[in-house]
Symmetry: C2
Subunit: 218 residues, 2 copies
């Protein structure tokens, strides 16, 4: 039996994440880790983004889910290379899973690697995957109090994308409260508002993301 302390595991994860990041950087691949609650619209956001980025950026996706391949099938339908990780109960991805999954891609053929993490506003906060930036997604129906209740995941993110803004007319949601809370928790973070199914707000997010990819045709 091998017993490993949680702190040591986290340290090992951080070292492996650093290796991932160096490998991606050397290969000219920009890595993004997308986190958010179950059903906040991460996959729908990717579908809209890849539509806008077509011909400018060559993306690939690693999908993290407890079970099944629903999200990977949606990405595959776009013609974007995708690997599905089934965590079999585990509540977040880690750097080791990413290192293994990324080997499946032709690194010459991609310049943006997006990891869609397991839907979880808590456990994904503590695990660096080796990404260059982390985007946290908050959907309007989740409510405007989520930054106060789950601060860690917002604090460590480089951008906040507020999704499902088409539902604002039907839901009590104070956008100013959310942007104010984000400004306090992560002053340097970018904030975007989108309605991905309607394509609203996708342009500026796509432009910002493409600007981060070293090899993107802007």
């Amino acid at each position: 039996m091998k017993i490993v302390a949680a702190k040591k595991l986290l340290k090992a994860n951080d070292q492996l994440a650093e290796e991932n990041r160096e490998n991606f950087t050397r290969a000219g691949i920009f890595g993004v880790n997308i986190v958010g609650s179950p059903g906040c619209g991460k996959t729908t956001l990717l579908e809209a983004l890849f539509g806008r980025l077509k011909g400018r950026v060559k993306p690939a996706v690693i999908e993290g889910d407890i079970a099944g391949s629903i999200d990977a099938e949606r990405i595959d339908a776009l013609g974007v290379p995708v690997v599905q990780i089934n965590t079999d109960g585990a509540c977040h991805l880690d750097a080791n899973m990413i290192a293994a999954a990324a080997r499946d891609f032709d690194w010459e053929a991609i310049d943006l690697l997006v990891v869609e993490n397991v839907g979880n506003l808590v456990c994904t906060a503590g695990f660096d995957l080796g990404e260059h930036l982390r985007i946290v997604v908050l959907s309007v129906p989740e409510g405007d109090d989520k930054l106060a209740k789950y601060p860690a995941i917002f604090q460590g993110s480089d951008a906040l994308v507020i999704t499902k803004t088409d539902l604002l007319p039907y839901i009590k949601f104070d956008v100013d409260r959310v942007t104010g809370d984000m400004a306090r928790l992560a002053p340097a973070a970018e904030i975007f508002q989108v309605a991905a199914l309607q394509g609203e707000g996708i342009d500026s997010l796509a432009q910002w993301l493409a600007g981060k990819c070293p090899a993107a045709g802007l």
Copy 2:
């Protein structure tokens, strides 16, 4: 330094949960564990339920959150006894936390103890708190694919409450897919559909819950 294997911790949790359950039963208190994603509407559901159950059931609430006391303040405003647990980063409540928090209540004065777990569709699945039944909440905006993607939490629940049904006209959500998936994962589970802010569907859920409380005035 003390190193404890995760499996042993889970076993210890199960034993403590069993003690909680026996203590609650002996005291004539019915225990409910409410789980679901961040922002699925757990607190709003409780507000609506306690309105309907007033004078029939004497409830108390344990609120689990990463940080803050937003939910506890909402429950307190209803005049319902409430204890807020701040997990300080931990992604679920455990039986030990419940045993400690429950000591704060006057057990003679309550007959329904509701635990509102941390918003998390993954990690809360593995931890018995000593409840008599577990209710999983799924909100319409989260999408109809959640049972396929997060099966464990639905499988182990005694009831599914579909919330925010007032948003059905604005969102692609197949109720039949959800009820079909639930029938497969948890054939014995009750299924309710509610729009808590509008009070729709609350009556039958309140009636069912009151019927479970040994001391409730029905």
